[in-house]
Amino acid sequence: MASYEKIDYLLRPSKQVERKLIIEILQKLARAKYYIHDYTYIGLGSIYYADFILFHKYLLIDDMICSEIDKIPKRMEFNKPYEFIKLKMEPVSQVLLNIDRGKPHLVWLDYDSPIDNDILSDIHSCIHIFAPGSIILITVPSDLRSLMNLLDPVEAKGLADEKKKERIVQILNDLIGSYYGQEITFRDLGKSKLPKVIAQSLRNFIDSNIIARDELQFFQVINFKYSDNLQMLTIGGIIDYCNSAEKLKDSGIYKIKNVQQYEEPIQISVPPLTMREKMWLDKKIVQLERCFANDQPLPGDMAFEIEIEPVRNFVKYYRYYPSYYETLL
């Protein structure tokens, strides 16, 4: 079952927060003279077109390509929110062959299947083909449950859990071990460790392939992990000339909140709240921020029972908290 069948993309709160965070970061890249509204966006298909709608509205991109491989051409065409989206019923690897290599692109390789050779191959192709200044975002599941899909189901059927894990470790080592830089072990499969392992491997995979382009380099700015249901990892950055390093540093990009140039992903976590609860917390936001800044307990007049951690997370991301009554049309 494709993931769009399971849940409305818009209704995944952390995912939605991530989208908004990414938009904010990409907008701020203008400081370093990356003007995203001139870019061509390439996204993977989903009947909700959530990323397309948001990127058009808030990044002002109107040159967009959607790559979809499921055999639902009519449904994809029917749900297309804007005429200008070019729908391609073919894999990304095919779409890339026909792009304008002189123009910067923004691509979001947003996979719901775990990392494999096809995914690495798509990333490799983007790195090879994109014009300097292009931005690449990659999202992959990053928990053990998703990785189980890497096992051959027939082979896995009789295996005990420990054996399955062993097999996964082996598959990961074959796939990304050489990029991770050290042997991947059992311990790396833990929920808190795995995103970092994958992030670091992807990052090194990009670095080692971009070498073929002489003067280009990958500048990572995004590294998030979050879980709505499955834990996901998103890593992203800019492909540009090596001498852009100065420009990026001077622009202050790396000092912006939520920009991450290192391998440890920033955790996005938003508590599930009712609309009333959210509005109440919104009203108290200044007071709450002050509490956390001064390491104080929650105020005594909390209107409902809630732990301190979820409130802390809410305060961190309240500006991006999804408001579902606002429908994106």
Binding site: P91, L97, S121, H128, A212
Partner: protein
């Protein structure tokens, strides 16, 4: 203090000969001489055989000569003769360049096939001990007789010209050119020249290495027989197209053509790589062209994959060929840039062939069998229309039933129990599978 205030350092002739002939085979040595002949043609008549990759090119369309440009090889137990009418060498070049080891002029670009300024000399050393050499241009007619054994014992490195009448070399062609006769062949060379297999191996190499030259109309003869080329064709139909892509890396133009071979082409293909028109890899299926490193390893399911990569440059040193000109330089940045593009263009083609493989194994394929698809189309005459950039696509023109065959193996005793349970102990095995599948669909999906 010692009278000598320096340590002597120099190169001996014997060492030089030993070192430069070590890594080259007899076959490659002969090809070096053919390269030299063709270089003259490239330079004098501005022939660009790489054009024949993308259009129906024949050099005679641009150059109207009284006779076809020819390289004629004659090989026997006693002597090796190569004659061409490709332009010849001026006296000045002969005096200052041709017999120098290495490229004497710094900072200038050498076009054509002579990359290292060593090929002809090492071919001589490899083959024999007495070289007779005559070359003429419109202005000059010069002769050299080089007795290598005698020369070895002299301190002088220079090789004196000889009188034309002292050699028995006579030109067969009207157009200016060069004739080289090598005698006192080395023992291993005589042995090889006597073997039929050697001659057919040489013919094959001439056929492949110079395929684009032959295709462009240049004639190469071996012992009076014309060498013919056989380059595979690419298939094209309403449903399947091919890739033609041009990129530039530094001073090197890279042209890439890739697609699928026609149904009657039963030869496993792979990549064909050219440098300035000379083939340096033939039907390669190894890591040299990315198989098993940046995309899947070669497998018979990819037999119909065909790719051409052509590097050309006015600076031969910028080309990614190995020093024997048979193979590629993997460390070259130009080659790596090309490899990336080869990977990119190959993936959709390999994907499709991979899907076809599944279809072929089945009796009722989801995809039309590769065979059927290929029969419906046409084979385009080699590269006739690859001038414009295109990319490989597969667009089925008619809807085909989207079905998949499933097969699996189960213990027969268990299968018999299922048959019994289904109420027909004699039903076909395939029916058991279908009924069990239907059962799952009904109870779990509907």
């Amino acid at each position: 203090m010692n009278q000598m205030d320096k340590a002597e350092s120099f190169v001996t002739k014997r060492f030089l000969i030993d070192i430069i002939t070590r890594d080259i085979g007899i076959l490659d040595a002969i090809l070096e001489l053919v390269d030299n002949s063709l270089d003259r043609a490239i330079e004098k008549y501005r022939i660009d055989v790489t054009k024949s990759l993308i259009e129906d090119y024949n050099y005679t369309n641009d150059t109207h000569l009284e006779e076809p440009l020819t390289v004629n090889l004659h090989i026997s137990e006693d002597e090796f003769i190569i004659e061409d009418n490709c332009g010849g060498i001026t006296k000045e070049d002969l005096e200052h360049e041709v017999f120098v080891f290495g490229l004497p002029k710094e900072g200038i670009e050498y076009i054509g096939l002579s990359a290292f300024g060593i090929g002809m000399k090492r071919a001589f050393f490899k083959l024999g001990k007495l070289v007779e050499f005559r070359t003429r241009t419109e202005q000059d007619d010069s002769t050299i007789t080089w007795n290598i054994d005698e020369w070895m014992n002299l301190d002088d490195w220079n090789i004196p010209f000889s009188k034309i009448e002292d050699t028995g070399l006579h030109f067969t062609y009207n157009l200016p050119g060069t004739i080289i006769k090598i005698r006192n062949l080395k023992l291993p060379v005589r042995t090889r020249f006597n073997q039929k297999e050697f001659l057919s191996a040489l013919k094959n190499r001439l056929r492949t290495s110079y395929a684009l030259f032959l295709k462009s109309g240049i004639i190469i003869k071996l012992n009076e027989e014309d060498v013919t080329h056989s380059l595979p064709s690419i298939f094209k139909s309403e449903e399947i197209t091919y890739t033609s892509k041009y990129i530039k890396k530094g001073d090197v133009d890279i042209r890439l053509i890739a697609g699928i071979t026609p149904v009657d082409d039963r030869i496993p293909r792979g990549w064909y790589v050219f440098c300035n028109g000379r083939m340096v890899l033939e039907a390669d299926k190894t890591q040299l062209t990315g198989w098993g490193t940046s995309y899947p390893m070669f497998h018979p399911k990819f037999n119909h994959f065909l790719g051409y990569v052509s590097f050309s440059s006015s600076d031969v040193k910028a080309l990614p060929w190995s020093s024997t000109k048979w193979g590629v330089e993997l460390d070259s940045q130009v080659y790596n840039a090309a490899l990336e593009e080869m990977r990119l263009q190959a993936i959709p083609i390999l994907d499709l062939l991979d899907r076809w493989k599944d279809a072929k194994e089945d009796d009722e394929p989801a995809l039309p069998a590769l065979r059927d698809l290929l029969i419906e189309g046409q084979t385009i005459p080699i590269f006739a229309s690859a001038k414009d950039e295109t990319s490989f696509t597969y667009k089925p023109k008619k809807e085909r039933p989207d079905v998949i065959r499933i097969s699996f193996v189960k213990e027969s005793e268990l299968v018999q129990k299922v048959k019994d349970a289904l109420g027909n102990p004699k039903m076909k095995n395939s029916a058991v599978g279908e009924l069990v599948f239907d059962y799952f669909v009904e109870s779990e999906l509907n």
